[in-house]
Amino acid sequence: MNELRIRTPEGVEFAFALASPITRFLAWSVDAAVISVLSSATGTCLAVLGTLNFDFARAVTIICYFAISIGYGIVAEWYWRGQTVGKRLLRLRVMDEQGLRLRFNQIVIRNLLRAVDMLPGLYLFGGTASLLSARAQRLGDLAANTVVIRSPKITEPDLEQLVSGKFNSLRQFPHLEARLRQRLSPVESAVLLEALIRRDDFEAAARVTLFAELAGHCRALVHFPPEATESLADEQYVRNVVDILFRKHSV
């Protein structure tokens, strides 16, 4: 996955997932529809003006169409801090390439330079540039020093539902429990947790195979006595391991 990685002076590193050109194109399609709807609505409203003065009504309509087509992206991204309707729907956000605050002039430049990104049609220049760019930037983004990221949303894993607070036979052996915590890497722990979270998404056969492999891996790292593991299905074994890794020891 393409990421924008930033390391703070405090030594903390964080990353933003970059939006793919396809997702951005979808967001742009939504925005194009919004611009079209706004323009039509404005035209309908201003038609009333036409009964008073046709020339004036036409002039105002032209100004409104122009302002909407040029200004929509600028105003929306400024007001919503890097988002338009399309970007909000697809959870995308424009941000400064160095992780600094997004400036108004950056928003203006990236939106005005759509004029060259759209050439010769259907964002061919911009699309090609973002495919070739390491940070998926179109020409407007390159000039404005901006990137489009996927905007994160917090979702807390429901551990109660995953491990259900049942009796955990592995907890009878605290020294082995500690050894298991020590030997499993963060990445392996995350894999076990993710497997449990997504368990209902797997086909039955794949689910059995996956949990057999995961349980086998855990068993190989720490050997619990037979009385703690006998009659435990592979999935339950993984469930108990996750319980040890992620839940506070309840005494």
């Binding site: 930033i6 703070t8 002076p9 405090e10 903390v12 590193e13 964080f14 933003f16 046709f54 020339d55 004036f56 036409r58 002039a59 032209i62 169409y65 122009f66 040029i70 801090r81 941000m95 400064d96 390439e97 160095q98 992780g99 605050r101 997004l102 400036r103 108004f104 002039n105 950056q106 203006v108 430049i109 005005l112 330079l113 759509r114 004029a115 060259v116 020409l139 390159l142 000039a143 404005a144 020093n145 905007s151 994160p152 917090i154 979702t155 807390e156 894993p157 551990l159 915590r181 020590q182 499993l184 963060p186 990445v187 722990s189 995350a190 947790l193 890794l245 992620f246 839940r247 506070k248």
Partner: protein, 334 residues
């Protein structure tokens, strides 16, 4: 060691929410200023969230929480490490009478190049039409089809017209001109991303059209008509287009780099405010030019004598030169 995730979430959530609320406030209200105590608290929260991020990255790779904390850290980092001035409240008048001319003068060489390319184009267009009368048809685009005929016939038609062809159409015509010219200017700016080549080609082509039309009218003995028709709006419109070209050429210059040893990103970052000032100023000029072209330029002798129109155009040009060339108070601090 793996952290207890639920406890970690419960302990951290209040401070995460507090930091998020401050960030929301900072990002939505440009005028929001924190007291010293609030700043200290803000910095403390940033450090706490950074530490939480470091913990969760090290101990329990939980992707969703990790991404959330990365987002918070990133937003706070942007506020704390931003050394550029915050976007000031918008002051359109100050911007137009001070910032725009100052930016123009600071980058005068790009404007001079923009002017030179247009003059070269005009000379080329004039020579082409002078050498081969048929070149006019090839040079002048379809949108100017009314200029394809004999200039003398057009002048006669305009001067003997009893009905105003733009009656009940002037406002529409003015706004159409404005939006078309502003679009062309934005394109001139944007084509700077082709290392300035696209901007140069567009400027040259504009010059070619201008030169071809001017020579056509001069050769037909209609110089006074041509000046009276073009000058009132042209002395503003053409410089506005040149300024948009100036902005495009600046992008090209920054992309090429030359002797500047700073990185491309640094150069582009520094150029941003100048580009916005130039294209914004050009847009304002084009609004004025559109109004003049629709309501004044298209009214010919005998209604308005050519001398008056030429004098008006000359006065506008003198004012424009003064406006763009004058030094304003507080300049030089940028």
């Amino acid at each position: 060691m793996i952290v207890d995730l639920q406890r970690f979430l419960d302990a951290g959530r209040p401070e995460w929410a507090e930091l998020e609320a401050i960030l929301d406030k900072l990002e939505t209200d440009p005028g929001y200023a924190m007291s010293f105590e609030q700043l200290r608290r803000f910095f403390h929260l940033y450090q706490r969230v950074s530490a939480d991020l470091a913990r969760i990255q090290t101990f329990a790779s939980e992707p969703e929480i990790c991404r959330y904390l990365e987002s918070l850290t990133g937003r706070a980092y942007a506020e704390i490490n931003e050394t550029r001035e915050r976007d000031a409240r918008i002051r359109p008048w100050t911007w137009f009478v001070r910032d725009f001319p100052a930016t123009f003068r600071r980058n005068i060489r790009a404007f001079q190049l923009s002017l030179l390319i247009t003059i070269l184009g005009a000379v080329f267009g004039a020579v082409a039409v002078g050498v081969d009368a048929d070149a006019k048809a090839a040079i002048i685009p379809e949108q100017f089809s009314h200029l394809m005929g004999d200039p003398a016939k057009r002048v006669h038609k305009e001067e003997t017209r009893t009905k105003d062809p733009f009656k009940n159409f002037k406002a529409t015509f003015a706004t159409s001109l404005m939006q078309n010219n502003i679009r062309v200017s934005i394109l001139l700016l944007a084509m700077g991303m082709t290392w300035g080549i696209g901007t140069m080609l567009l400027l040259f082509y504009n010059g070619v059209i201008l030169g071809a039309i001017m020579l056509d009218y001069i050769r037909a003995g209609q110089t006074a008509f041509m000046l009276g028709w073009l000058m009132p709006h042209g002395v503003i419109e053409i410089p506005a287009v040149l300024i948009a070209g100036q902005a495009g050429l600046l992008i090209g210059k920054v992309l090429i780099g030359g002797r500047d040893r700073t990185t491309l990103k640094t150069r582009l970052r520094a150029l941003g405010p100048d580009l916005m000032n130039l294209i914004g100023g050009a847009a304002v000029m084009l609004v004025w030019a559109g109004l003049i072209e629709s309501f004044f330029s298209q009214v010919h002798q005998p209604v308005i004598p050519y001398a008056a129109k030429i004098a008006f155009g000359a006065a506008e040009l003198a004012l424009l030169c003064w406006f763009l060339g004058r030094r304003t108070s507080g300049e030089g601090t940028h």
